[in-house]
Symmetry: C2
Subunit: 286 residues, 2 copies
């Protein structure tokens, strides 16, 4: 149980956790924090949070659990603001999509990675953003990856795990570097490809006409290009090492596909497509 | 109205047209043709076609409308088989995803593009294939592009248009070269990217683990990588000119994105992502 949960960043991710924990009866009070009072007021009206503060330092007062769900680029200023203001025994966790950079930021701000900080990342989301898009079922049967380091307090990690499980998620632990490599492949690269494709096509051609003849495949393929640009800029900057490696790998593979197209090498194309279909169908069955 | 519709290739595309026209009461009899008697028997059992022939030359006998919905690579043998076997006054149309290659094939087989041939392409489909995946609503409110050429008989084109409208589609006409460029951008390139990404990731890493941590974004982004490999090999070979151009354009744009990641150029990344999101959101609103 959480007595007072403080959520810094009440958007899709933060708002959905609030809704899920409230539905589960897992916390008594939820305090929101963020930059926009108007936005936070909306969250109160939607019943997502009980009250709010626009100053994170005030919001964390007396909270036994603090959840930071802001874009990666805003983490440093949030951590700086709440440093020294957390209640005794409070646990701090986050939802950042790249764990190496969050750990680095925490270390910079606190001078160490404090035992009460439990790095986390819920593998859930939609292309929507904002508290209006939040819903209690977002984490149901989804994975949450925790990436504790040596200094992480085991009891703190246990409390974060219990919180996510109460929200319906399955919690796993992973090394932060490995997390960043896996997410670069399954999430960051696909988002970059979708953004780049849509931008590329818009600049190439008559956008109006292009989209007029786009079918369902294009709609699904580009869904993630409707994601929040600021969040994704921050992820690219934060996880640039792993992402660069993957983009280069992908470009090299795409060049090889293009060579097969140019050489009219149907066997090679069929091999690639069949391999991809087999893997993707297998993934979907599970 | 169609008296006897012959569908060569009773899969998702051919089967769905049959179901739609039957539901609309637009044709009296539907004869299927294909290579597999077992598959065609299944189509009869599903009520999609009334009867079948495995020899296209026999299937087209007495049909006033013939619809060819086989992969592009199988078009030549189908056209060769039915040449000289069509009933007087019969109209021939197809569903090929690349019109330049179909027109070339027709010209090769018939020595000209006959007036009775109306090149067509329904902009509809799912990642499923086979007659089991067909459904009457597939073409409802979807576009069908006809790409008639100078020799195309206007009355024949009118009959094909009426057929697709009866199936619920909106019919437009387009120059075949322009069609191939538009479809390369909105369909062929995205499919290639999805196939290449999944193949690339599978060869890169522990596929089991990767897919375990993939979320909804990845599932949607890679949906089209579950498409039929043979159909897509044929499309890549048939529309290779337009596709090569686009892959090169895309690689160059992706390299520029990678440079922005390497240079930690957040402004440039934000610009690209914002531009893409704006275009994609605009497309979805319509």
């Amino acid at each position: 149980m959480i007595e007072r949960l403080c959520i810094i960043g009440v958007g899709l991710i933060g708002g959905s956790l609030a809704r899920a924990l409230r539905a589960a009866g897992f916390c008594h009070e939820i305090v929101g924090a963020g930059r926009s009072a108007e936005h936070l007021q909306k969250a109160v009206e939607l019943g997502v949070i009980d009250r709010y503060e626009t100053d994170p330092a005030l919001a964390v007062a007396g909270a036994d659990m603090v959840f930071v769900a802001v874009p990666l680029g805003a983490m440093q200023s949030v951590f700086s603001a709440i440093k020294g203001r957390l209640a005794a025994g409070a646990v701090l966790t986050d939802a950042g999509s790249a764990k190496g950079s969050v750990l680095e930021t925490v270390h910079q701000v606190f001078g160490e990675v404090p035992g009460f900080f439990v790095p986390g990342h819920p593998i859930a989301g939609t292309e929507q953003s904002g508290v209006e898009a939040s819903f209690a079922g977002l984490y149901k049967n989804r994975r949450v990856i925790l990436t504790p380091v040596e200094s992480t307090d085991a009891q703190a990690a246990g409390r974060v795990r219990a919180m996510w499980e109460a929200a319906g998620a399955e919690v796993v632990e992973m090394d932060p570097v490995h997390h960043d490599a896996v997410l670069a492949a399954t999430s960051h690269l696909p988002h970059l490809l979708a953004f780049t494709l849509v931008d590329s096509l818009v600049r190439l051609a008559d956008q109006q006409e292009l989209f007029e003849y786009a079918a369902g495949g294009f709609r699904d393929f580009t869904r993630i290009a409707s994601s929040d640009p600021v969040m994704w800029r921050d992820i690219c900057l934060a996880n640039h090492d792993a992402i660069e490696l993957l983009i280069e790998h992908f470009i090299s593979d795409l060049e090889s596909v293009n060579q097969a197209v140019q050489a009219r090498d149907g066997d090679r194309l069929l091999e690639i497509f069949t391999n991809a279909k087999r893997a993707r169908d297998g993934f979907i069955e599970k």
